[in-house]
């Protein structure tokens, strides 16, 4: 069960890093970003149909998400079943608060994911009243820029990124521990450093495009 959690988590780490790389293409301009988005859909052609690779990837991600969430809820319910009488006094301060945020942080990320997919993939909602839908057309770049010119969209994303960073910091380390890769003090330090690095790079890397768009550097 925990191996499932760790391996699906690992897949997400790679996906998130690839996703971030794609986002940073915003800085290369509209053409580069739109071409990249289109290329993802034609990747693997003609062996795969249009969007074929993308759908293979999506199915893998959906399966991984189901596995990840299932094992999380399994462990959660087992934990609450293992101590029915709670302590009158609990020394919660001794617990790393990052590990405490894993469960509710995970749920928050799931909710964010739903909103994020609706906004940019499924419905493609334009929330910016100053930009007409016609000017956006089917350019993903135009939609991204129009969306992040709205301050509250940026706030939602920054909150989600904070949750993602915390989740990754504990998650990457925890995955290494579950896979049995942290058996010496040196391996433990490496896992800790890697976890911090991945969390920081992801949070900052994702935060850059929305912030630059909000402050008008990219338009």
């Amino acid at each position: 069960m925990k191996l499932l959690m760790a391996s699906t988590g690992g897949l997400f780490v790679f996906y998130v890093l690839a996703h971030m790389y794609g986002n940073l293409k915003v800085f290369a301009g509209q053409d580069a970003f739109d071409t990249y988005a289109h290329h993802l859909r034609t990747l693997g052609e003609p062996i795969l149909p249009y969007e074929g690779f993308l759908w293979l990837f999506r199915v893998a991600l959906i399966l991984a998400l189901v596995g990840h969430a299932y094992s999380a809820f399994y462990l959660w319910s087992k934990a609450s079943g293992a101590r029915s009488t709670r302590y009158a006094v609990s020394a919660a301060s001794r617990m790393a608060w990052k590990s405490q945020t894993m469960r509710w942080g995970g749920v928050a990320l799931l909710l964010f994911l739903v909103w994020h997919l609706i906004q940019f993939t499924i419905v493609k909602v334009n929330v910016n009243p100053d930009v007409k839908d016609a000017t956006i057309g089917d350019s993903p770049y135009a939609l991204v820029v129009a969306s992040f010119q709205v301050w509250w969209v940026v706030v939602i994303y920054l909150l989600a990124l904070a949750a993602l960073g915390l989740h990754l910091q504990h998650g990457v380390w925890s995955g290494a521990q579950t896979l049995g890769w942290t058996n010496s003090p040196r391996a433990r330090r490496t896992a800790q450093t890697t976890a911090y690095a991945i969390a920081l790079v992801t949070a900052v890397g994702f935060a850059l495009p929305p912030l630059f768009i909000l402050f008008g550097v990219v338009d």
Binding site: K2, L75, K78, A82, S90, R94, H170, T178, N183
Partner: protein, 247 residues
């Protein structure tokens, strides 16, 4: 020292329990924690009340009997067992809450006494090595590299007190399992049963109703013997190997 004690009182296994307050005015900072409870009990007996039941045996910090949860921390604020804790650690403290180790796998028998036999059954399931009886072999006939011997010994200091499970927000005893798996797995005598050990111990652990480990680390913080968290990583590694080998 003047201290208000709030102690969990429970008449029997299925009886309802509650916290009862006792005012103590004559606590010496040099008393050990259990001595302080002994004095309380003498007073209670003199007054004709039921004394507070708690477990203790060696009072040297090596037997693992005296697990109490003091102010929410198993074995209290110091990195030591309850019997080796002194009242001077509570100077400036107005009240101390004393509860039994809480996990459904550790049912409360009475007051602060819990049944920790699940840990014994986990040991029976795999925490052993098989040896031939007869005269003991020469100690140096089997050489063990120092790094392995050291790591085995670091894990072998586990006294099986159950503080890890009591501290764990999931009520998981994985640090206990990890300590045993690492201790025996680092030594040549532990190799023949290595693959089966981790699987059998884990199955028994789950059957006893302990929760699953989510790598929080509260166990290693609470452990009076400072068993490091990496023994759980070792357990996971052994489990992965035994799954690959098809056990």
């Amino acid at each position: 020292m003047k201290i208000t004690l709030r102690i969990w009182r429970q008449a029997g296994k299925d009886a309802p329990g509650r916290l009862v307050s006792y005012q103590r005015d004559d606590v010496s900072p040099d008393m050990s924690f259990l001595e302080m409870l002994d004095v309380l009990n003498e007073d209670l007996i003199a007054k004709g009340e039921e004394p507070v039941e708690f477990d203790s045996d060696c009072r040297e910090g090596i037997c693992g009997m005296c697990g109490l949860v003091i102010n929410g921390e198993p074995h209290g604020p110091q990195v030591t067992t309850t019997c080796q804790l002194h009242m001077r650690s509570f100077e400036g403290c107005d009240s101390i809450t004393i509860e039994p180790l809480r996990a459904d796998a550790f049912p409360v028998l009475r007051d602060l006494v819990v049944d920790r036999s699940p840990l014994d059954r986990i040991i029976q399931a795999g925490g052993y090595v098989s040896v031939n009886t007869g005269s003991a072999p020469e100690a140096h006939s089997q050489l063990v590299p120092k790094v392995h011997a050291d790591r085995a010994f670091d894990a072998a200091v586990c006294i099986g007190c159950g503080a890890c499970a009591a501290a764990c927000p999931n009520a998981s005893a994985m640090l206990f399992l990890g300590a045993k798996v690492t201790h025996l797995g680092e030594l040549p005598q532990g190799q023949p049963e290595r693959d089966a050990r981790v699987v059998n111990m884990l199955n028994q652990h789950d059957e006893e109703g302990f929760g699953g480990c989510t790598n929080v680390g509260a166990c290693a913080t609470a452990c009076p013997k400072e068993i490091p968290l990496d023994v759980i990583s070792q357990l996971n590694k052994d489990l992965r190997h035994s799954l690959v080998r098809g056990l």
